[in-house]
């Protein structure tokens, strides 16, 4: 094989380090996700080839190759039991790419390495599509192109020149990429099977609430969603983002209760607030709309959604990619004013024999009033005056969790308060339930950021003719009773203002990136083209726009690439200028005539210019052919002027 490889196609020694760099750049970030043995093996192969390259590269023995390939295959097979996982595919790609380095003979082998590396570049987007990833991959692509250029380039050319040329190619390709990105008719995925869900196992709300489940999120700075308000910004007390509603309590945890997938009976008052919500994937079905959304559009951003009679908006499929929804919410509303008996009854259930003291406390209030609102006020006042603390590190609660909280520990996070409050209400005969979601948000460069640390739990009580009313018992805790742990957390995040500002700035950029680059889907494409004036863009008109703009761009590039080259030698450039000047006066200056020959000829043909031409000719010849000190360009230019 080696013998039959034509000389022109033999892989040059100088190409090898570039191929190593290609494999390194494209495979290295996968070290975070791939099994350790594979990463070690690939790194070992790279190091071995590097060592070999310095001592004289030789193709590895076939038996060793077979051993390595079969070993790697068995390893992947064992590690990724069901092989349908795409991570197995990535592992396979890395293995093949690394082992291909052991048998580089001809240019063709190098081409295979580089082309597979292109594919490997793509796989990083499975994990992250952030700006940082994109920047790293552009750098990676630069190395990949430079390696490709190296195969056909003069072996003497330095590596920097290759990188410069590769970046030139990349820069020239950019406008076409932008046009394609904007105008190429987009297809909604997936084409075959859904992406694996384990990919997006993210933190966030869970479908049950037990003591500590939300406190866990308090430390989490990740962004849950972003909101951009279109007509008006709501008041802070209206910023409740509704997640799962829970009505069933087993003494420890709250879970989903009775609900029907029919739109709630919602009486809207006032003007709606219109906003766009960009939800980060959380692998659950909740779409955390602001309270309170009436019937949502059936499909938005490729997600089918529904709303249940508790007013919880959910998607049919788990949200596994970033989604954008535009909603209208009515902060002033009346929900389910005429609740069914079933609804009321299920929201009065309490497990028997638990929390006797709490139940007794609530029943004691019944003597004073039977009005649900006043009962709720009573409970809130109990929290406010009872010396309750707001802490991230509550003590462990026993079997009678609510009793322990209300009478012993008196410290907890929002889920403790909401849970105790609902218990008290139910014990007093007021239908009540827990709502989990997010509260608040942080304003940053034109949009609201809601983080996981904004996760919250609050309560709702049902009042005849008024429907479900929101009560946030956590708000009853006086701020001075906030525990040190919470204040520390707040202090930690507030301490460095410029760091916060930097983070906010970075996140604002990230938001724009998400909104405009990553969020560019068929729907957005449609909107964009409509804004451009393309009425009802179809794939036909899209293709027409695409082809026309690409052609225009290509023509511009052709004009640029084939622009007439500048004369690099200054003396010759000046001589040519002189010739052009002379030709204006009708003196023919053929290119083959040397400066001296021309000046001699002019002595008879045009004696009036001959001395100036002779002087310039002498200078030009001295600059181009003379040894010693060539005349300065300024002298030449002065001589040119006299011509």
């Amino acid at each position: 094989m080696t013998a039959s490889t034509p000389y022109a196609q033999v892989l040059r020694h100088a190409s090898l380090p570039w191929l190593l760099a290609v494999v390194f750049v494209t495979a290295a970030p996968h070290a975070l996700h791939q099994p350790v043995w594979l990463v070690t093996a690939a790194a070992g192969v790279l190091a071995a080839v590097l060592w070999q390259w310095r001592r004289g590269y030789k193709v590895t023995q076939p038996w060793l190759k077979i051993l390595l390939v079969s070993g790697g295959l068995v390893g992947i097979l064992l590690h990724y039991r069901p092989l349908i996982d795409y991570e197995a595919g990535i592992a396979l790609l890395i293995l093949m790419l690394a082992l291909k380095l052991l048998e580089l003979k001809s240019r063709r082998d190098a081409v295979i390495v580089v082309t597979l590396a292109h594919f490997l570049l793509l796989t990083h987007f499975f994990y992250s599509q952030s700006i940082v990833t994109a920047a790293w991959l552009v750098l990676g692509l630069l190395v990949v192109i430079a390696a490709l250029v190296r195969l056909y380039e003069d072996p003497e050319r330095p590596g920097v020149a290759l990188l410069v040329h590769a970046s030139r190619l990349l820069v020239q390709a950019m406008p076409f990429m932008v046009l394609l990105y904007l105008f190429f008719p987009r297809i909604n995925g997936p084409l075959w099977g859904l992406p694996q869900e384990k990919l997006i196992a993210r933190t966030g709300l869970t479908d049950s609430i037990n003591p500590g489940s939300i406190a866990e999120l308090a430390m989490n700075d990740e962004i849950a969603f972003r909101v951009q308000f279109h007509n008006q910004v709501p008041l802070p007390r209206q910023l409740y983002w509704r997640g799962p509603v829970m009505g069933f309590y087993d003494g420890m945890a709250w879970r989903g209760g009775y609900s029907v997938n029919i739109p709630p009976e919602l009486e809207r008052r006032g003007n709606p607030i219109i906003y766009t919500l960009t939800l980060e994937p959380h692998n659950q079905n909740w779409i955390l709309a602001m309270e309170m959304t009436p019937r949502p559009p059936e499909v938005e951003d490729g997600m089918r959604m529904r709303i249940n009679n508790a007013g919880v908006l959910t998607s049919f499929q788990p949200i596994t990619s970033r989604k954008r929804f535009t909603f209208a919410s009515y902060p002033d509303y009346r929900l389910d004013a005429q609740a069914s008996t079933t609804m009321r009854r299920t929201n009065l259930q309490l497990p028997r024999g638990l929390n006797p003291r709490a139940s007794a406390l609530a029943k004691g209030w019944l003597g004073e009033t039977r009005d649900p609102r006043q009962l709720a006020n009573r409970a809130v006042a109990w929290f406010r005056q009872g010396g309750f603390r707001y802490t991230l590190e509550p003590q462990v609660l026993g079997q009678h969790a609510v009793d322990d909280f209300l009478f012993e520990t008196r410290g907890g996070f929002c889920e403790h308060y909401a849970s105790a409050f609902v218990w008290l209400m139910r014990a007093a005969g007021v239908p009540a339930r827990i709502v989990a979601g997010y509260h608040g948000g942080e304003f940053n460069a034109g949009y609201f950021v809601v983080r996981q640390s904004d996760a919250h739990a609050w309560a709702e009580i049902w009042v005849e003719n008024e429907g479900w009313l929101r009560v946030d018992p956590t708000a009853a805790v006086p701020p001075e009773m906030t525990d040190e742990s919470v204040r520390n957390l707040a202090a930690a995040t507030q301490s460095d203002d410029w760091l916060i500002a930097l983070r906010n700035r970075w996140e604002a950029i990230g938001n724009h990136w998400n909104q405009w680059v990553l969020g560019y889907n068929p729907a957005q494409q449609y909107d964009f083209l409509s804004a451009l004036g393309l009425r009802k863009p179809t794939w036909r008109s899209l293709s027409a726009v695409l082809i026309m703009s690409m052609t225009l761009c290509l023509l511009l590039l052709v004009a640029w690439v084939f622009r007439p080259g500048r004369e690099t030698d200054p003396a010759r450039r000046i001589w040519r200028q002189a010739c052009r000047r002379l030709e204006k006066y009708g003196i023919v200056c053929p290119p083959w005539e040397s400066p001296h020959a021309l000046s001699r000829r002019l002595e008879t043909e045009a004696p009036h210019v001959a001395p100036a031409v002779r002087r310039l000719a002498t200078l030009v010849c001295a600059a181009r052919y003379g040894n010693g000190n060539p005349p300065a360009n300024a002298v030449l230019r002065a001589a040119l002027k006299s011509v």
């Binding site: 034509p6 000389y7 022109a8 795409y86 240019r107 081409v111 082309t115 597979l116 292109h118 594919f119 570049l121 793509l122 987007f125 499975f126 599509q129 990833t133 994109a134 991959l137 692509l141 192109i145 490709l148 250029v149 195969l151 056909y152 380039e153 003069d154 003497e156 050319r157 190619l169 990349l170 020239q172 390709a173 950019m174 406008p175 076409f176 990429m177 394609l180 990105y181 190429f184 987009r186 297809i187 995925g189 997936p190 084409l191 075959w192 099977g193 992406p195 990619s321 680059v517 990553l518 969020g519 889907n521 290509l554 590039l557 052709v558 690439v561 084939f562 080259g565 500048r566 690099t568």
Partner: protein, 324 residues
């Protein structure tokens, strides 16, 4: 797969008009530069397509961007590939005559007038099976030597040459046919047989005295490459301890220069054999320092000697056509 691409390329080639040799400087202009994807390009396209499907399926926004970028890169690469050949200038240079059976080296000057290098030019054509790779620096020229093994005497025209390039990305092959109007004289293959001893005189004056006659020694001069080794003053050369000085040859003069007519009729055999014999004789006669003339049917070259005379004789032999 490979046969499909090959047949497509051939069909494409058939549409291209057959070029003819061009005199003067050849400058590659767009009409004679062609471009076609290579197997690497096919592989590249398939990979991009697979990447596109993956991007759609997993809804990877940046995957789309990468696919579009790679596609655009191919597009831009097309321009750069073409540009590598466009505007290249080729001049044919004079070629030295040689004998049939030797390898002719046609010299072409390849000039890059642009301020950018032109790397990875592959020249194929001639007798060498493998293309020659050339990397042209900016505004530079290089001499390209095309080796052609000669078989027959006469004029040897430079075969059509193909210059191709895959630079920069290797996914496209651009090529052009270059056919400079260059030719090279191929003398007949010499057949060395003893020179004829007795030569018929023509007109009676100055009959050659035969091979064993001696002329007057006239002196020494520096040896030229064409001088016979027999005339080298070996004794003087042996006296020289250092080899710095060139060899000297003995010069003969005097009225009795030996003359020899090399006549077609003195040879036997079929025509090519006779031409070869005469060629051998011309070479030997020149080497021996004889004055010789050549008589071919319908052609007579008078007595003379020297390199240019030898060339005239050999050219006559090279281009000789026996009348039927």
């Amino acid at each position: 797969m490979s046969s499909i691409l090959t047949s497509m390329r051939q069909r494409w080639l058939r549409r291209i008009r057959v070029p003819h040799p061009c005199a003067g400087t050849i400058r590659l202009h767009p009409r004679r530069v062609y471009i076609f994807p290579t197997y690497a390009g096919l592989f590249y396209t398939l990979t991009i397509f697979a990447m596109f499907l993956v991007s759609i399926n997993y809804n990877l926004a940046l995957g789309h961007a990468l696919v579009f970028l790679l596609f655009s890169l191919g597009l831009v690469g097309m321009l750069h590939t073409c540009r590598n050949l466009l505007g290249l200038e080729i001049d044919a240079l004079e070629n030295m005559p040689l004998h049939a059976g030797e390898t002719a080296h046609f010299c072409l000057r390849v000039r890059n007038t642009r301020a950018r290098p032109r790397p990875g030019l592959e020249w194929s054509g001639g007798s060498h099976p493998e293309p020659q790779v050339m990397h042209l620096a900016p505004e530079a020229d290089t001499i390209l030597r095309i080796a052609v093994v000669t078989k027959h005497r006469g004029w040897l025209a430079l075969p059509i040459l193909k210059v191709s390039s895959r630079y920069p990305l290797g996914i496209l092959l651009t090529w052009a046919y270059v056919w400079p109007d260059a030719r090279c004289l191929v003398y007949p293959h010499p057949r060395f047989t003893p020179l004829p001893d007795a030569v018929e005189s023509d007109g009676g004056e100055g009959v050659a005295s035969g091979r064993d006659g001696h002329d007057d020694f006239a002196g020494l001069r520096e040896r030229q490459p064409a001088d016979s080794l027999r005339h080298v003053a070996w004794r003087i050369a042996a006296r020289e301890t250092n080899n710095a000085r060139p060899l000297l040859v003995k010069c003969f003069s005097g009225g009795a220069t030996r003359q020899l007519w090399l006549d077609w009729r003195m040879t036997e055999g079929y025509a090519e054999l006779r031409v070869s014999t005469l060629t051998g004789w011309v070479l030997m006669a020149e080497e021996e320092g004889l004055e010789y003339g050549l008589r071919l049917p319908g052609l007579e070259i008078p007595l003379d000697r020297g390199t240019s005379h030898r060339h005239v004789c050999l050219q006559a032999l090279a281009l000789f056509r026996e009348m039927a």
